[in-house]
Symmetry: C2
Subunit: 584 residues, 2 copies
C-alpha cells in the first residue's frame, strides 16, 4: 500500500509501475476526499483531474518542464505531489496552502492564478521566453472546457498557435463549467467527443494546433501514453481529454454543479454538514428578479458562468426560461450584450462578482457608458468582508465603475434599500446603473426611498455638528455605531448615507462647511481612486478637514477580515478613536 | 450619370438597376477619394467595403433592419447613403460628421463605436432584445478579419451562435488588420479563401454558425445575391466576404498598411501632402528599442495590432525579427504574454495606446501585479492633447494603472527623462513598470536622472514657498511657466516633478507643511481617481490647501484641445490665475 507521507516530490513517483500509480491514485483520492469533506473546497475539478495530474508529473520533469494551470483551482493533487502533501493529510495543516497555485509555496508553481482563461496566455509567455533564451523544456498549459469561453483564453490560443514550437495545451474537458457550458464552441467539443476526435470541424485545428483526443481522460495508462507521445512535440498541440468531473465520488459525479465547490460535507452521504439558515443576497436577488421577470417580459438576468452567485439554481433557471441568460465565462460579452439589449428596449440585469467584473472595464466604458445604454449591473462580493483570496478581492469595483463618466453607481446599506435601488435601476431608462450588493441585512425603514432620480442626492440620517461621517453602503452601520460612541464622548456627529458612489452631493458638502470641521468617509473597498478621495479633493481648497477610510493600496491574501477592518478604521471603535484624535 | 446629391436615404437606391448601382459605386468612390485626399481618414477600410455597403443598403431595410459596424471606421459610405452625403461632397462640411457611427447623427447608426471587436456582441444584444420583444427584423453585424483576434469578438461569436435566430455576421476579410494579421485563425481564413470556403476546418462552423463564402467581395452582383439569400435567415450565419482593402485606388491597393489611415494626400500620386519634419515619440521609441534589442537578446517589443503607433515600420519589424511580437488586436494576450515572458526571464516591453489598454485591466491586475512580474508598459497617447474622438480618449490610464497595487507608473516630462525612465524600467526586474509617453519634447538636462530605485521620490526643481505646483509628466512645463507668471506677481512657487504617478513622496509632502499653504497638482488626464486626489487625501487631515487640475468627469467628442486645457487650468495663464485666487 502506498504511504502518501513518502511522496515529497514528483521524483518519488517516476519509478512506479502502472499498478503502483493506480494505488497512488486511490490513496490520493481518499486523502483528497477526507480533506474536502472536512475543509470544503473545489471538489469536482480536483477529483476529475486527479489521474491527469499524476500522469503529467510522471511523464514530464517539473519544474524544468513547466505546467501552468488555468484558474488553478484544480491543483490540489499537483500540490500533493510537489512537496505539500502534509497540507492534505494533517487537518492542523489544511490551511497551510492556498487553494490556487502559488509561487511562494513551491518552485513547481509559476503563477498565482485564480481568474479563469489566463493560463494559456501566461504559458505562451513562458514559451516565447524559452525560445528567446534557447531553452528546450516542455511548456504545458492545462485549461478546462469552461474557461475556453473567456476572451483571454481565445486570444491565448489564437496567438499561441503561431509560436511554432513546443507548447502543449491540455484541454481538461469535463463537459461542465461551474454549471453547464454555454457557447457555440461547446457543441463542437461535444461533436469531437462523440466522434472520438475525428469530426471535421475542429475548433483547435482551425486555430492551427495539432490535436490529439483522449476518450478516457481518467485512465492512467491512456494519459501516460498520450503525454509520452506529445512530450517534446515541436509544435503547438492540443491534447483534448474527456474527463469526468467529480470522478470517483458518487455524490460529486451525480451533482456536478453542487460539488464544483462545496463546503464541508458528510463523506458517506455527500450532505452538507452545515446548512445556513440566514438570509442571503443570492436568494434575495433571484427571488426578486424572478418575480419581476414574470411581470415584465422585457427584463432579463445575465450571468457570466456563475449562476449560483446570483441565486439562480437549476430550478430557478428553468423557471426564468429565456429571460435568464448565461453567456459562459465571458464578462466582456455579458456587458456588451446587455448594452445592445438595453438599446433594443430590453431591461438586462447583469449579476457579477466584483473581482470578475474587472475583465469588462473597456466594455463598461466603450460599449455602455459612451453610448449611455441603460443596462443594470448587480455587483456581488464588492466588500473587504467578501472573498479573501488575493485573486478574488472585492475592493476594486468602486474605482473601476465610479470613475467612468455616465455610470450611476449606487451603494445600498441594507436589504430594503438594496431592493429599492435595484428596482429603480430597472425601472428607469436614462442611465447605466450599477448596484453594489451590501454585506449586511440590517434594515431601516427610514432608508427606504424609492426614487433616485435626484442624482447624487445624499441622505442625512442625523444632523449634528463639528464632524460628519459619510458611510457608504455597508459602512453606514459602522458610521452610526461610531456616532453613538462619539455621542458618549460629547460629540454630536452628523451621519450621512451617500447612496451614490459616482458623484457628490455638493449642496450638502457646501452646507456642512457652516458648522463642521471634519468630514470622514468610509468605503468598503480600495481607498485609492475611490469615493473618499473625491470628497478630499472637493474640500481641498477649503478649511474642512477630511479623513478617508478604506482599504490601503496593497494585495492581501487570505487575511483576517476583523483585523483588516480594524486597520482600516472600519469598526465603530477604531473609527471613533480616529475621529476623536483628529478633533483634539 | 448619378448625381450623389440626390441620394438622401437608402430608399433612393432601392430601385436602381445593377448598372446604376455600378455607376453609383463609381461616383461614391470618386467623392470618397476626393474627401480622403483633402481631409485624410480611414482610406483602405472604406474603399474596400464600398460595394458591400451599397449591397447591404440595397437588400436590407435600414433602420428597421439594423446594421452594426464593428470599429465603424469603415462607415463613410454608410454615412453617404444614410442622409449625410453633404459631409462628403462639400469641403466646408467635411467635419460635420464623425469618423465613426454615431446615433446622434442618424437613426441608421445604433452605437458609437471606435474600439475593435465589440460589434458582434452589441449586435447580439439587439438580436436577444428583438427575440424578447417579438420583433422580426434582420440584425447584421459587420466585422473585419483584423477584429476577430480580439477576445470580445470571440465571446460575441461564441455566444451569438447559440442565439438560434436571425443573426447575420458579415466578415469583411481583406486579409489585413491595420498591418498584417497575426494569429492562428488567419491561416484558417486563408485556407477558406483558397478553397472557396470549402475547407474542412472552418472556424465559424466550429462555433456553430451557418456559413457562406463570397470570393468576389467587391462585386456588386455577388454581394446582392448573397444578401438576398441570407435575408431573414432563421439561424446565426456568417457571410465571409473576400474583399480588397483600398479597392479602386492603386496607391491604397499597393500600400495597404500606409493607407489604412492616411493624412491628406496627392490624389494623383498618393504622396502625402505634408511630411512632418518634427521628431515624434514613435520614432524615438522604435529607434531606441531597436538599438537595445540588438545588444540584449532578452528584450522584446510587443504590439497588439498597432505597430505603426510604436514606430515599427515594416522595415524595422524585419530588423527586429523574432524580438518584435505582434499578437494581433489582443491586449489581454499582450499583457498576459508579457507577464509570462518576464517570469521566464525575458524583458518584454508592450507599447500600447492609452485607450486600448483599457481592454486589459484585469490582466494588469491579475496576470501581472499579483504576480509581480516585471514587464514594461509603454503607454502612447495618454494625454488630453492626444486623440479627441470620444472612443479614443487618452484620459483614463492614470486611474486605470496607478491604482493597481504593485505597478510603478512613471510620468516623464521630456524626451530625455522618457528614455531614462524607459531604460530603467527595462533594466530593473523588481516591479512591473509603466511609462507614459509625454506629449512634449522639451528637454532639460537637469531632469535626467538615470535611476528610479528610490520609489516615489519626487524632484524639486525649484524650492520656493507658500505654493507648490506638482506638474506630472507633460504638465511639468505648464507648472514651470505658471511659476514664472507667479514670480512676476511676487509669489515664489515651488515646482515639483513628481515622476511617479503610482505613489506619493510623503517626506516631501510633510516638509512642505513648514512653509507652504497650497499644493497644486496637474495631471494630463482624468482627475477622478487620478494622481491629484491622492495628494488631496494625504493633506485632508492637515491645514494644507490642495487644488487638483485635470480633466473633469465627462466624455467629450472631437473637442478643441486648447479650449479644454484652458477649462482644466492646464495652461500657464489659467493656472497662475487659479493659484492667485486661492492665495488671496
Amino acid at each position: 500500500m502506498i504511504d502518501l507521507k513518502n511522496i515529497h516530490s514528483p521524483a518519488d513517483i517516476k519509478g512506479m509501475s502502472l499498478d503502483e500509480l493506480t494505488q497512488l491514485a486511490d490513496a490520493l483520492r481518499a486523502a483528497l476526499l477526507e480533506k474536502l469533506s472536512r475543509n470544503g473546497g473545489h471538489a469536482g475539478p480536483n477529483l476529475g483531474f486527479l489521474e491527469a495530474t499524476i500522469a503529467l508529473h510522471y511523464v514530464f520533469n517539473s519544474p524544468v518542464d513547466k505546467i501552468v494551470f488555468d484558474v488553478s483551482h484544480q491543483t490540489y493533487v499537483h500540490k500533493m505531489l510537489t512537496g505539500r502533501m502534509e497540507a492534505f493529510l494533517d487537518p492542523a495543516k489544511y490551511k497551510s496552502v492556498t487553494g490556487f497555485t502559488n509561487p511562494k509555496e513551491s518552485e513547481h508553481d509559476f503563477f498565482t492564478i485564480g481568474h479563469t482563461s489566463t493560463g494559456v496566455s501566461l504559458a505562451g509567455g513562458l514559451v516565447k521566453a524559452r525560445d528567446m533564451m534557447g531553452g528546450k523544456e516542455n511548456i504545458i498549459a492545462v485549461v478546462g472546457d469552461g474557461s475556453l469561453s473567456g476572451g483571454e483564453a481565445f486570444e491565448g490560443l489564437d496567438f499561441g498557435a503561431t509560436l511554432g514550437t513546443n507548447f502543449i495545451v491540455v484541454v481538461n474537458d469535463n463537459d461542465m463549467s461551474i454549471a453547464e457550458n454555454h457557447g457555440g464552441l461547446y457543441a463542437d467539443l461535444h461533436l469531437l467527443r462523440s466522434t472520438d476526435g475525428q469530426a471535421e470541424n475542429n475548433f483547435f485545428r482551425s486555430l492551427g494546433f495539432a490535436y490529439r483526443y483522449v476518450p478516457y481522460g481518467n485512465d492512467l495508462k491512456s494519459l501516460i501514453d498520450i503525454f509520452e507521445e506529445v512530450k517534446d512535440y515541436p509544435h503547438p498541440i492540443v491534447v483534448h481529454l474527456n474527463t469526468q468531473k467529480g470522478k470517483g465520488y458518487a455524490p460529486a459525479e451525480a451533482h456536478k454543479e453542487l460539488f464544483h465547490f462545496h463546503s464541508p460535507f458528510d463523506l458517506a452521504t455527500g450532505d452538507p454538514l452545515h446548512i445556513s439558515e440566514s438570509e442571503s443576497y443570492d436568494d434575495i436577488f433571484a427571488t426578486h428578479m424572478l418575480e419581476r421577470m414574470k411581470k415584465d417580459k422585457r427584463i432579463a438576468v445575465i450571468t457570466a458562468g456563475t449562476p449560483g452567485v446570483l441565486g439562480f439554481t437549476p430550478d430557478r433557471r428553468r423557471e426564468a426560461g429565456s429571460q435568464f441568460i448565461d453567456v459562459g465565462i465571458a464578462e466582456q460579452e455579458a456587458v456588451a450584450l446587455a448594452s445592445g439589449m438595453a438599446k433594443g428596449g430590453a431591461r438586462p440585469v447583469f449579476g457579477v462578482v466584483s473581482s470578475f467584473l474587472q475583465r469588462a472595464y473597456d466594455q463598461l466604458s466603450q460599449d455602455v457608458a459612451i453610448n449611455g445604454n441603460p443596462m443594470v449591473l448587480n455587483i456581488f462580493y464588492g466588500s473587504i468582508a467578501g472573498m479573501t483570496d488575493v485573486t478574488h478581492l472585492g475592493w476594486f469595483d468602486i474605482p473601476l465603475v465610479a470613475n467612468i463618466p455616465g455610470w450611476v453607481y449606487l451603494a445600498p446599506s441594507c436589504k430594503q434599500e438594496y431592493l429599492s435601488m435595484l428596482d429603480w435601476a430597472i425601472n428607469q431608462t436614462k442611465y447605466p446603473v450599477a448596484v453594489r450588493v451590501p454585506n449586511t441585512m440590517a434594515c431601516d425603514k427610514e432608508l427606504y426611498i424609492a426614487n433616485y432620480d435626484d442624482l447624487n442626492k445624499n441622505v442625512v440620517l442625523h444632523r449634528g455638528k463639528r464632524v460628519a461621517i459619510f458611510g457608504a453602503g455597508s459602512c453606514l452601520q459602522v458610521a452610526r455605531d461610531a456616532a453613538a460612541i462619539l455621542k458618549s464622548n460629547g460629540i454630536d456627529a452628523t451621519v450621512v448615507n451617500p447612496r451614490f458612489l459616482s458623484g457628490l452631493d455638493t449642496e450638502l458638502l457646501e452646507a456642512l462647511k457652516a458648522d463642521h470641521e471634519l468630514v470622514v468617509t468610509l468605503e468598503d473597498g480600495a481607498i485609492d481612486g475611490g469615493y473618499g478621495e473625491k470628497i478630499a479633493r472637493y474640500y481641498g481648497d477649503s478649511d474642512m478637514k477630511v479623513q478617508c477610510h478604506g482599504m490601503s493600496k496593497e494585495f492581501l491574501d487570505r487575511y483576517s477580515i476583523p483585523d483588516v477592518l480594524k486597520q482600516c478604521c472600519l469598526t465603530p471603535d477604531t473609527l471613533a478613536l480616529s475621529v476623536l484624535k483628529s478633533l483634539q
